[in-house]
Amino acid sequence: MNIVNSKVDNKLNLPDAALELAELSSKEILSLSLKNKWMTLEDVTLTKSFLSDFKNNGIDLAILNFEKRVLEMNLSKEEFSKKNLFINTVMVMKYKNPNAFYKDFETNKNLLSKSSAEDEGILGCVLASIVLVGATIALGSCVTLFLCGLALFSWGYSFNNWMNKCVGQHSVM
């Protein structure tokens, strides 16, 4: 904190409990936040829905849906202002730097949209495994040179796909 304060010439002060969070993993931070009632499960669901909307439908729809959900929750004034502060911050950031929200969404879907392996999850892995099994069978049962070439080519592709979907981003191609 001292380093930050000296750099920006400020007297920013955070409680010790908040500084200790820096040493924890994201899962530990979440469980500690829930335990200490800094946030509720409702907040987690709301944030997850917001991120999911953002990834799949873009920032505008994500903001609209967030507002709709918050209004449906019938929150107290204090809780409402917390959510309001969050979405207002997002909107200010969007106003200040719209490219950060739109450019990536349009041009690099993998950044903000489905991060292939993660969002596809088990289904993607299962399908990739079935294709790999099929490719192996095709490779084992081919007779002509042409079919064996095709089978080998598709085996390579399906193996690469299987690595991406089931093992992680370990693409070999």
Binding site: E106, T107, K109, S113, K114, S116, E120, L127, A128, I130, V131, G134, A135, I137, A138, G140, S141, C142, V143, L147, L150, A151, F153, S154, W155, Y157, S158, N160, N161, M173
Partner: protein
């Protein structure tokens, strides 16, 4: 070498065809339209497409063999 039956070839062909269609939902068609990263977008559909063709050929071969007998 594995010798697959007519029935197995047909089932594999249908499965691969279904996976090929399912894999379409992963494709970002906007990128395809703009001609960006086409290869990357279709990469997960290539293997099931080729395998559909291969199992179709296997299936047709089995039918031909049956007719030849």
């Amino acid at each position: 070498m594995i010798k697959i039956s007519k029935k197995a070839a047909f089932i594999f062909m249908i499965i691969m065809c279904m996976i090929f269609v399912i894999s379409f939902r992963e494709i970002n068609w906007d990128n395809i339209k703009e001609g960006k990263a086409i290869f990357k977008e279709i990469s997960s559909s290539i293997a099931p497409f080729i395998l559909t063709i291969i199992f179709f050929i296997f299936y047709m071969k089995r039918i031909k063999e049956e007719k030849g007998k």
